[in-house]
């Protein structure tokens, strides 16, 4: 499996723009105050997710899988490496964003609640990584071109879900009650129950995506 990390390392080195955008994404939004952190989280997290999918595309293009699976790499090892890569990039993005947030918070005197911001960064990282984990088995099965087309649909779907959630929580009695209960839970217990639920959900998606990815890659014929 180490050869796959070397392979990805060589490919990542050729993608300097990703890191430039990530660094800019980390620094520039925060110049607009604590609210800039939300843009930083999104830019950094999405960049890391796209980077993993790019690495997968790079292996798939020009029938690359055909040659790759005649080397001593097994299909299961390949999937495991990609999940480890995505997980590592997500954690790195989270840690870097928290570090930059702490630096800005202390040097620019935002007086923001660091613990709350850290939890928010973690929640956003988990949400973005869920989308990436879900895309891996689909890209293995359908290839990068179809997934790029799907991404536009996913963006629209996320917007619809967020819009629907906003409408439910603000316009329906059931939604307003649920929102009040969530706010009360936050006031009483802080972020902890939300982090637990998000963590369990993310882990579940990760496991299911891994199983689906291994199944899909074993079924591929070249």
């Amino acid at each position: 499996m180490s050869s796959l990390f070397v392979r990805d390392g060589i490919a990542i080195k050729k993608q300097a723009m990703v890191f430039i955008i990530t660094i800019l994404g980390m620094v520039i939004p925060m110049l607009f105050g604590p609210n800039g952190i939300y843009f930083t989280m999104a830019i950094s997290g999405v960049n890391m997710a796209f980077l993993t999918l790019f690495l997968l595309s790079s292996d798939q293009e020009n029938n690359g899988f055909k040659f790759l699976f005649t080397t001593p790499i097994t299909r299961t090892q390949y999937v495991a490496e990609k999940f480890i890569m995505l997980f590592s990039l997500t954690i790195s993005s989270f840690i870097l964003t928290v570090i930059v947030m702490l630096i800005f918070n202390n040097t620019l005197d935002w007086a923001a609640n660091q613990k709350s911001l850290t939890n928010l960064i973690a929640l956003v990282s988990m949400a973005i990584s869920i989308v990436a984990f879900l895309l891996i088995p689909l890209q293995i099965k359908f290839g990068p071109t179809k997934i790029q087309m799907l991404m536009s649909g996913i963006g629209a779907l996320v917007a619809i879900i967020l819009g629907a959630a906003y409408w439910i929580f603000t316009k329906t009695d059931f939604g307003k009650d649920a929102w009040d209960k969530l706010v009360k839970m936050y006031i009483d217990n802080g972020f902890t129950p939300f982090m637990i639920v998000a963590g369990i959900f993310t882990a579940l998606i990760l496991v299911l995506s891994y199983v689906a990815s291994v199944r899909n890659i074993k079924r591929l014929e070249f």
Binding site: S2, S3, V6, R7, I10, A11, K14, S58, D59, E61, N62, N63, G64, F65, K66, F67, F69, T70, T71, P72, I73, T74, E221, F222
Partner: protein, 284 residues
Amino acid sequence: MLKITELKKSYPGFKLDISFEAPNGTIVGLIGRNGAGKSTVLKAIGDLISRDAGTIEFNGTDVKNMTSDQKEQFGYVFPDSTVPENFSVSDTIKLLKVTYKNFNESQFNDLVKRLKLPIDKSVKEMSTGNKAKLKTIIALTHNANLLILDEPTAGLDVVVRQQIIEVLQDYLNEDESRSILITTHISSDLESLADRVILIDDGNIVFEEDTDVIIDSYALLKMTGEQYDKVDKQYLLHSEKTDFGYSTLTNEKNFYVENYPDVAIEPTSIDDIILFLVGGINHE
């Protein structure tokens, strides 16, 4: 030894069903028309496609059950697949060093120099000939026992083809137990390289022979209609009616040389065998 036993694979409108062996130390050429099943056989050996039935064993182990270390025994060349296209030769060396335990970096570098490959150009920027050379070098610099080459010289000029053939011949001379299974449409490559030729048509083996025997015993006989009616047909494999009479393929050239001196006898090539055996009147 590579042993393929009753390998079956079906696609819509196509059924592969073959058995053959490639002993250690031999070069076996698979020939046939486009869509005959040659690449399907190679992909099955690489476990890149599933099999409907049959076994593919190399030195007693089924390729489906091979460990990562055992997979190092194989070196592959595909016409449409290699390392990532934005990798250069120097990137490829870094990758191969961690991919294959037996990767021989000095041999790789020697071959790169000998074949004049650019070190820092990406694969996508290379010419067709340089890409083919790189694929071949990748296949044979990790001490593979069996090279599986799917049209390694397709689309190349005669100079580059000869360079690749020489590299393959040197590779075999280093170790007598090494083998090659090669598919190609360029029969002159097989005539200079292969020990044995297997003709596949429509998923089945229709002809199998040692190249020495083809050169020594096979011939084309050109006869008038009258000669054809009188000649002993027991050694005629296939015949075709032509404007002047008949053109026939025999595997007993000397019989006709000795008994029918007035019949025109010409040496045959692998291309002639393909043309005769996938068409014409069958005397067998």
